[in-house]
């Protein structure tokens, strides 16, 4: 008879925020497999009540230290929708470029610093600086490029300063954009090498049928605003986001959770790719196919590869955006803002999945009600369900505890959870 085993990991490492994994196996049968979220809540939705509109993007960026740009942009979009402001095309393009660069820095951080150590059998990126110096340098180069671009357009890589309701406080110089384009061109070689490295990793063989939720791209791979879609066929308007997120609370989670057609759904790079594969840049699609990643892929570990594919996509798309921007004459950086009573929603695809900000304002533009639905909170129930299925599958196959323990951690990390963000 096989012995009883308990796997308990408190404050899982190499993820943002605090979460625990608990697995109990008795005689080869999984009695319990749980994902717990113990992060301290910050109560952003309450904090915002009574504040003037201009604080919303500024404060909400502080929900997350990794995707502060994404939060800022979702918040700005919600305010602009509430006040009936249409930003200039130039603003839209600069925002998307900024968004792309955040996606790249966040994905590279996750792929190399958080995920890769598992595949290479080490505890952090530190030993890799000795065993794989060229790879680490490459990661740092890519991340630096993306972060420099965020400084250039957003004013600051973390908690951006130039992004405001109506547009930007100031614009980058065109010569700087040209230099960025040159660096992006040079980065394609690094991205190709990144794909080669990840091709040497063994992606765990696991799949669980999942519903995937993302923005719906009409003409392009979607990042900012538009209709919402699920791989089970649900389509909703941006302002009906609540019908997509269906938040609820449960014991063991200080974050809220979400469900749609089933008990759980997934958001993130894999969801975006599954729902919008045809809109990827051809070069990105080629990388995806090289990994056998085509829609609908139900292996959560492939989220790592989906992030890699998106890096290739955003690098190419950024070049196209810069080309457009360089052709234009700069227009004023922002349009004037007149607050008014009303409600607005902003849906933005941030690195970890679809993010919603929604506010209600009084006549002076003071916030009366705020709601933010975070990608990781939408993923928690799915992580929990995956952990159960994974523990069952691998316990039945008689895998060693240490293997199950490692795979369970790798599974959670594949979602690139931002737990502090989910418990905002």
């Amino acid at each position: 008879m096989k012995p009883s085993r308990t796997i308990a990991i408190n404050h899982l490492t190499r993820v943002e925020g605090h979460g625990n994994i608990r697995i109990r196996i008795k005689n080869g049968t999984v009695e319990e497999a749980r994902w717990e979220v113990v992060e301290t809540p910050r109560f952003f939705e309450a904090m915002l009540v009574g504040k003037l509109w201009e604080n919303a993007p500024y404060l909400c960026g502080r929900i997350c230290g990794i995707c502060s740009i994404g939060h800022t942009l979702a918040s700005i979009r919600a305010v602009e929708n509430a006040f009936g402001i249409t930003p200039a095309e130039q603003t839209d393009e600069l925002r998307l470029l900024l968004k792309h660069m955040e996606t790249m820095q966040s994905h590279i951080l996750h792929l190399y610093f958080l995920a890769a150590p598992d595949f290479l059998g080490v505890g952090s990126v530190l030993p890799l600086t000795r065993s794989h110096p060229a790879e680490v340098q490459r990661a740092l180069r890519l991340k630096l490029l993306a972060n420099d671009a965020c400084d250039l357009i957003g004013g600051r890589r973390l908690h951006p300063t130039r992004t405001v309701v109506g547009g930007f406080t100031m614009l980058p110089e065109k010569a700087q954009l040209e230099r960025l384009a040159q660096r992006l061109l040079a980065a394609q070689e690094d991205l190709a090498a990144a794909a080669e490295l990840f091709a040497t990793f063994t992606i765990p063989d696991f799949a669980r049928e999942t519903e995937f939720v993302s923005l719906k791209g009409d003409h392009c791979y979607p990042f900012i605003g538009g209709e919402l879609v699920s791989s089970d066929g649900v389509v909703k308007q941006e302002e009906d986001y609540r019908a997509m997120t269906n938040e609820y609370c449960e014991q063991g989670f200080t974050s809220k959770l979400s469900r749609l057609s089933r008990d759980a759904f997934a958001v993130g790079a894999l969801a975006r790719l599954n729902n919008n594969f045809d809109h990827l840049h051809p070069a990105a699609r080629k990388v995806a196919r090289g990994f056998g990643l085509t829609p609908v892929n139900h292996n959560p570990f492939m989220a790592n590869i989906a992030q890699l594919v998106e890096c290739v996509h955003v690098a190419h798309d950024s070049l196209a955006i810069i080309k457009e921007l360089l052709k234009r004459k700069w227009r004023p950086p922002r349009v004037p803002v007149t607050p008014k009573k009303g409600k607005g929603v902003g849906a933005v695809e941030v690195p970890r999945g679809i993010l919603y900000h929604a506010y209600e304002f009084d006549r002076e533009g003071r916030i009366v009600k705020a709601d933010c639905v975070i990608p990781t909170s939408q993923n928690h129930a799915n992580i929990h369900a995956d952990l159960k299925a994974l523990a069952r599958q691998w316990a039945a196959q008689g895998k060693a505890d240490t293997d199950i323990e490692l795979l369970a951690q790798m599974l959670v990390r594949a979602y690139d959870p931002c737990i502090s963000c989910s418990v905002h």
């Binding site: 301290t40 109560f43 991340k143 630096l144 600051r156 908690h159």
Partner: protein
């Protein structure tokens, strides 16, 4: 704390450094890895023994603890106290740790029951009033900012490592802003808290044509009345000042004073409120 610092300088070539987080956005600790160009050299200065966000290995003792985040739940107090006993030097990293940061905005309602209900409905959730870490343990050094500048983090850690004295500016952001030859935002019709906020960020926001929001807390001789007068001259009300001043917690005293004055308008009139 001159003792431990010189001790470090003499006896420890590579101090053991731990990075810890409490209620926060984790942005401060990410500033660590956000400096790609110098990251590897910087990390070479120390032995990183505890950094949950980046590494699996963990050790129980360290020379320098960098602590991010504010305190908002009972279990955090216990964890913080333990870190203090294991660290020779404890640095408060960022405005959440120094003053409560944006998280302390929930304190202004003085009604935790309402705060909880607004976000979680009737679901039971544990939280308490947000407080800076210095309310619970001795803090040897404060690294201000939301976020702190990465150059500043490197400078402070490097100086702690080599035992060099660290001085922080006490003058306001305006000084740095003027040195950078920025156009003053008031002239562009934007409010700015630069006149009373502690410098050291190189006027990060005004450099980007964004008003200072006071994330680093008050400069040594912060004169709120004078700020109010400047604001009034440019047509900005006391509400706008309070609305910005209260965001990061560094100006808690000044905000309370302004609120008191608003409740007793006789005193307020002399400050020329718009």
């Amino acid at each position: 704390m001159p003792g431990p610092r010189s001790y470090l300088g003499v006896e420890l070539a590579r101090p053991r450094v731990g990075v810890f987080d409490f209620t926060s956005c984790e942005g401060c600790q990410l500033q660590f890895v956000n400096n790609e160009a110098t990251l590897l050299d910087f990390l070479d200065l120390m032995e990183l023994v505890n950094f949950r966000e980046a590494m699996t290995e963990q050790a129980g003792d360290y020379d320098i603890a960098l602590v991010e985040g504010s305190i908002s739940r009972a279990d955090e107090v216990t964890r913080l106290e333990k870190i203090r006993t294991q660290a020779k030097i404890l640095v408060a990293l960022g405005s959440c740790a120094c003053f409560g940061g944006v998280n302390q905005l929930k304190n202004r309602f003085n009604d935790l029951k309402w705060v909880k209900k607004e976000v979680y409905g009737n679901f039971p959730i544990a939280t308490q009033k947000v407080r800076p870490i210095s309310d619970f343990v001795t803090v040897d050094f404060m690294l201000y900012g939301c976020p702190p500048r990465k150059e500043e983090i490197e400078k402070v850690v490097t100086n702690l490592v080599v035992g060099k004295k660290i001085t922080m500016p006490k003058y306001p952001v305006c000084m740095e802003c003027k040195a950078n030859e920025n156009i003053c935002l008031f002239g562009l019709g934007e409010p700015c808290l630069g006149p009373i906020t502690r410098a050291g960020c190189d006027a990060w926001c005004p450099n980007n044509r964004r008003g200072c929001w006071g994330c680093r807390g008050p400069a040594e001789a912060a004169n709120v009345r004078e700020l109010e007068a400047i604001m009034a001259r440019h047509g900005f009300s006391r509400e706008i000042i309070i609305d910005r001043l209260e965001c990061f917690g560094g100006f808690a005293g000044q905000v309370a004073e302004l609120r008191r004055q608003s409740e007793h308008p006789r005193k307020a009139r002399s400050t020329g409120q718009a």
